[in-house]
């Protein structure tokens, strides 16, 4: 959904997100919804300005979200509050799951298929009966080793018949009955016991949200890293999507789940990824341990036969043509072997450990500050010290760039700069306004920004850096005859340079991302024109259409809707795919193609014109009739296998997956596990404390706290501040934001302060097995003790945005955190760990003679 579409919601639940403080301008649309009569609910461990402006605030303990959301699912199902016409038609609620499926309710907290030695699941028993379902998420497909068997062929089962269903919902293994059993114990009483939210308040919230959903109304969730930074992060979001699927809040005006992401183009850098496991726009990076030996095997294994992803070969081959040009030929498999193949997880946490073990010798750090932003700061710094060299590109000195001079280990006297061998380069970076290019916001909106002024001195754009580094490397490898150097020789790198500084033309790069025909270099206007025969080159198929013809960069478009227009603002910049503002908007109409209600119309089937039309660009085949049905006698593939009433076109069966048969490593349904570190035992599954598939690395310096360890009795969470942006140095060197938030602090409740004799503004030391920090206390009633499973649990919180550089300073909160990973994304846990806190100062003084915080 577009950000501004939040204004069309009738009820908004903000959870895992402090929207008012961290995305203040996005919060405008919540306020607007409220002004139009919506109920706004904030569910969060801390009472913040988001809570203050909500109609209802509910406190819950960090890390108990699935207990709350699972309770909502149960309450909605048991009280028949769901939008039956929507969910029966558009979700897999009636699908029948394999007979061998076993639920955590029968099995002490584990799903069927668990291998206790490997710590992983086999997904065989989670499938639709008689089918093997490909995951729509490429990165999840590639992460499942089952693909090494002949999975590609097994997916063909999807072309033989529709998945087995029981529309009466009586079959004991249909998704509806499985969910009822799975969530049976998530009663309001249990919700209160696990989360500490009073049960009446929980029921009230659930009923308000459900009553504000249906034909005439829609509700939305907003979340941020308060949901993702857990060992169950993906499953928390999944729990919300089950609620939205049941209530019909997907693909409709004011309905959805709004991810509030933290960096200007974090969405763009996910789509066109600087990530290890994906090629541009969600194509899987090949893996040597899978059936990926040739491009044909890779495509056969990874291409789902049904649904939109059946087009994958066109996108892969067009990408290879964009990257390797004439060197990509049919004979050499379009240059597929130039691509590096994975052997394992190379995400940031394993990369940090590989640095520490000296695997990595040279490291580029481009506009990121891991010495502050990454968990377990001291381990991160040890990794830096083991590098041969590091290149940091930023606009002001960062803690990462001067770790060798002022890092934690230097301050503690463990090591002197003269003992650190890392060769360091600091290259000054140009900032927005000093370079042009496009950025993608949290709702897929791609906006261009102009060059207005000159970057000072030797500051250059990152585009300049990478283009010129590439030119130098191509020159160094020009005469090589080694096979390993063919990829860099073949790489197309002919970017026009302009002016005295030889700045590359950013629009030329966007044109390459958009794609063109190989023969005559004409821009491709639509990804449906991409081919798998080498005749088109396209750097990112989902962005195809952003530059449909020469001179027409749609990300520069700046025409907002005026009064009386639909408010979709289709003329303001450009949204992937093909300027569709709401994904799966086919669901905004009923199965027959009519809007569910006049009030909530978005697109609809126009019988006279025989096409879909409306206020948004249809996220569907424009001329596909609502009454189209696949002819199963013909073994339909691609979009032919999806009906005219199957809106979820990226899914292999076109249905919203309440139950996920493939792709999730930790189960087909969200289940409450305690955080990796928790002061309490899991009240729901006493024998399964943590997510059994969470990634844990208990190496020296990264020790974890056991459940209910009396040495670390408090829940600790980290958060951001309105005036401070992430670990980035940007706002700490900006004079007025630094003045507004000059120093780190810890927020604690008056109850805890009294019991520990901590006074407001007094010094405290917070400790974990990873390290300790020293900050002043902010004693505030915004935090209240929780009552979990009958006993009192205190939670404290600290902003993670500080370091020793800039005007605003303070101890680095990430010193306290451990490296851990969610099973699906490898994301770390920062929102719920355990710690101890005491009044006073650190025992050991800083050898640099300066405290990080002002004294």
């Amino acid at each position: 959904m577009a950000l501004w579409d939040l204004a069309n919601s009738d009820c908004i639940i903000e959870m895992g997100s402090n929207l008012a403080e961290n995305h203040p301008v996005g919060f405008r649309f919540v306020v607007e919804a409220q002004r139009r009569g919506a109920t706004v609910i904030h569910i969060d461990p801390r009472y913040t300005r988001t809570s203050a402006l909500a109609d209802i605030y509910a406190p819950i303990r960090s890390g108990s979200d699935i207990a709350f959301l699972g309770g909502m699912i149960r309450h909605i199902l048991e009280n028949d509050l769901w939008f039956r016409d929507f969910a029966l038609a558009y979700t897999n609620i009636s699908h029948i799951i394999e007979e061998g499926y076993g639920d955590p309710e029968q099995n002490e907290g584990l799903f069927s298929g668990y291998d206790p030695v490997a710590g992983t699941y086999s997904q065989d028993t989670w499938q639709y009966a008689g089918k093997t379902v490909p995951s729509p998420v490429a990165e999840h497909r590639v992460q499942s080793q089952e693909n090494s068997s002949d999975e590609g062929a097994a997916f063909e089962s999807m072309t033989k018949s529709p998945p087995p269903q029981d529309p009466t919902l009586q079959h004991p293994n249909c998704v509806y009955q499985i969910m009822r059993r799975h969530y049976a114990r998530y009663t309001p009483e249990m919700v209160e016991r696990v989360t500490s939210c009073p049960k009446d308040l929980f029921v009230r919230i659930t009923e308000i949200f459900a009553h504000n959903s249906g034909r005439e109304k829609t509700g939305a969730f907003t979340y941020a890293v308060g949901w993702t930074h857990h060992s169950t992060g993906v499953q928390i979001i999944r729990a919300a999507s089950i609620i939205q699927g049941l209530l019909g809040n997907i693909g409709r005006p004011g309905g959805g789940i709004m991810a509030l992401r933290g960096h200007v183009s974090i969405q763009g850098s996910t789509d066109i990824p600087t990530l290890y496991n994906m090629l541009p726009t969600y194509l899987p990076q090949p893996n040597v341990f899978h059936d990926h030996a040739t491009v044909d095997r890779y495509l056969a294994t990874e291409t789902p036969p049904t649904g939109w992803w059946s087009n994958m070969p066109k996108y892969v081959i067009s990408l290879l043509k964009a990257w390797y040009g004439e060197a990509a030929t049919r004979e050499n498999g379009w240059g597929y072997q130039f691509l590096p193949k994975l052997t394992g997880d190379a995400s940031q946490e394993p990369m940090t450990m590989a640095m520490s073990d000296r695997v990595v010798k040279g490291q580029f750090i481009l506009g990121q500050n891991p010495a502050v932003g990454a968990v377990n700061s001291e381990l991160v710094e040890r990794g830096f010290a083991n590098l041969e060299w590091m290149v940091v590109r930023d606009f002001a000195m960062t803690e990462t760039a001067n770790f060798w001079q002022q890092g934690h280990r230097v301050r503690k006297g463990e090591v002197r700069p003269e003992e650190i061998g890392t060769e360091m380069f600091f290259l000054p970076a140009a900032m927005p306004g000093e370079k042009d290019g496009s950025v993608t916001n949290t709702s897929r909106l791609v906006q261009w920004h102009d060059v207005v002024c000159e970057p000072p001195g030797d500051s250059r754009s990152d585009l300049w850096f990478i283009v010129h580094l590439g030119r130098r490397l191509k020159e160094l490898y020009r005469d090589s005859i080694e096979p390993k150097d063919r990829a860099i020789q073949a790489l197309t790198w002919d970017y026009a340079l302009r002016g005295e500084k030889q700045e590359p033309d950013a629009e030329a790069v966007l044109r390459e991302i958009n794609g063109r025909t190989v023969a005559d270099g004409k821009q491709v206007a639509d990804y449906r024109e991409l081919k798998d025969d080498g005749s088109t080159a396209c750097g990112g198929w989902m962005y195809c259409g952003i530059f449909p013809e020469t001179g027409k960069n749609l990300s520069r478009s700046r025409r907002p809707d005026g009064p009386g227009e639909s408010g979709a603002h289709l003329g303001w910049a450009w949204t992937w795919p093909l300027n569709r503002r709401t994904l799966y908007n086919r669901a905004s109409a009923d199965p027959a193609g009519k809007p569910w209600s006049e009030r909530k119309k978005m697109i609809w089937w126009d019988e006279a014109q025989a096409k879909w039309t409306g206020n948004d660009v249809p996220d569907f085949l424009a001329d596909k009739r609502p009454d189209y049905r696949p002819d199963w006698s013909k073994r339909p593939h691609g979009m032919d296998a999806l009906g005219g009433d199957d809106p979820f076109i990226m899914e292999a069966d076109g249905k919203c997956a309440l139950f996920v048969p493939s792709g999730l490593k930790d189960g087909p349904l969200p289940t409450h596990y305690e955080p990796i570190e928790s002061p309490v035992r899991n009240p729901l599954y006493p024998k399964q404390q943590r997510n059994p598939t969470a990634k844990l690395w208990g190496r020296p310096g990264n020790e974890l706290h056991d459940a209910a360890d009396p040495r670390f009795p408090y829940v600790f969470t980290t958060f951001r501040l309105t005036e401070m942006h992430c670990g980035g140095i940007a706002t700490r060197v900006m004079p007025h934001t630094a003045e507004l938030q000059p120093e780190a602090f810890v927020e604690i409740s008056p109850e805890l302060a009294a019991s520990l004799r901590i006074r407001h503004l007094g010094w405290t030391v917070i400790s974990t097995l990873r390290g300790e920090v020293e900050v002043r206390a902010m004693v505030t009633e915004r935090l209240k003790p929780f009552r979990i499973d009958g006993r009192e649990v205190h939670q404290i919180g600290m902003p993670w945005v500080y370091g020793w550089q800039g005007y605003a300073r303070g101890d680095v909160a990430n010193v306290l955190l451990a490296i851990t990973g969610d099973a699906n994304t490898s994301i770390h846990s920062t929102k719920a760990i355990t710690c101890n806190i005491r009044p006073g100062r650190k025992a050991r003084p800083d050898v640099l003679g300066q405290s990080e915080a002002r004294t």
Partner: protein, 197 residues
């Protein structure tokens, strides 16, 4: 003495003339006419000096507020919310409103800094020298740490000896070329950004 007295009387007259209260009492609006004074008549908007205006996007969170950047002689003089943007309609949060302070921060570094192994200090170096040294080091590490195949001949074509971190603060075009050069050209596997943070 006369001179001083005259100056004083002029000042009193000027004060009376500029004094807003009588005019407000006479019915003038405090929002317009009654707010005028000799000083305000001479005020000029700082934006008037701009010789260039461009459309930008706030560089902080992913909401994507539109900004207008005003520059004079290649230097920014003002940043404000773009009133046309349906996202922010001219508004900005404290971070976005501080963008000019970031661009012009006294803490900003505009030289290439180099720290030799085991040295205790930064030194300034020419940009071209640093670029060549970085290219040479990249090639060296790549050549030394490259793995072409596994024991049984399966192709992996990658290096674990090089890593890259960052991207979420940068443009799509920059991300695209980083992945293209580092992944598609050099065979780097360790490429990550803030998406997991």
């Amino acid at each position: 003495m006369t001179k001083i007295r005259r100056r004083l009387s002029e000042r009193v007259a000027g004060f009376v003339r500029d004094w807003s209260l009588p005019r407000q009492m006479a019915g003038q609006s405090v929002m317009s006419e009654a707010a005028r004074s000799t000083t305000s008549a001479n005020l000029r908007p700082r934006l008037e000096e701009a010789d260039r205006i461009g459309t930008s996007v706030c560089p902080f969170c992913a909401v994507g507020c539109g900004q207008l950047i005003y520059a004079k002689n290649g230097r920014p003089i003002h940043v404000e919310g773009d009133p046309r943007s349906p996202i922010n309609q001219g508004t900005l949060c404290p971070k976005g409103a501080g963008t000019l302070g970031m661009l012009l921060s006294p803490e900003r570094i505009s030289d290439v800094l180099y720290r030799a192994p085991y040295s205790d200090r930064w030194e300034k170096r020419p940009l071209a020298w640093a670029m060549e040294r970085i290219a040479q080091l990249t090639k060296q590490v790549r050549d030394e740490t490259f793995a072409g195949t596994l024991p049984d001949g399966r192709i992996i074509n990658h290096t674990l000896g090089l890593g890259s971190l960052g991207g979420a603060t940068m443009d799509n075009e920059e991300n695209y070329l980083i992945k293209k050069l580092f992944g598609g050209g050099l065979g780097m596997i360790n490429i990550e950004n803030q998406a997991r943070i």
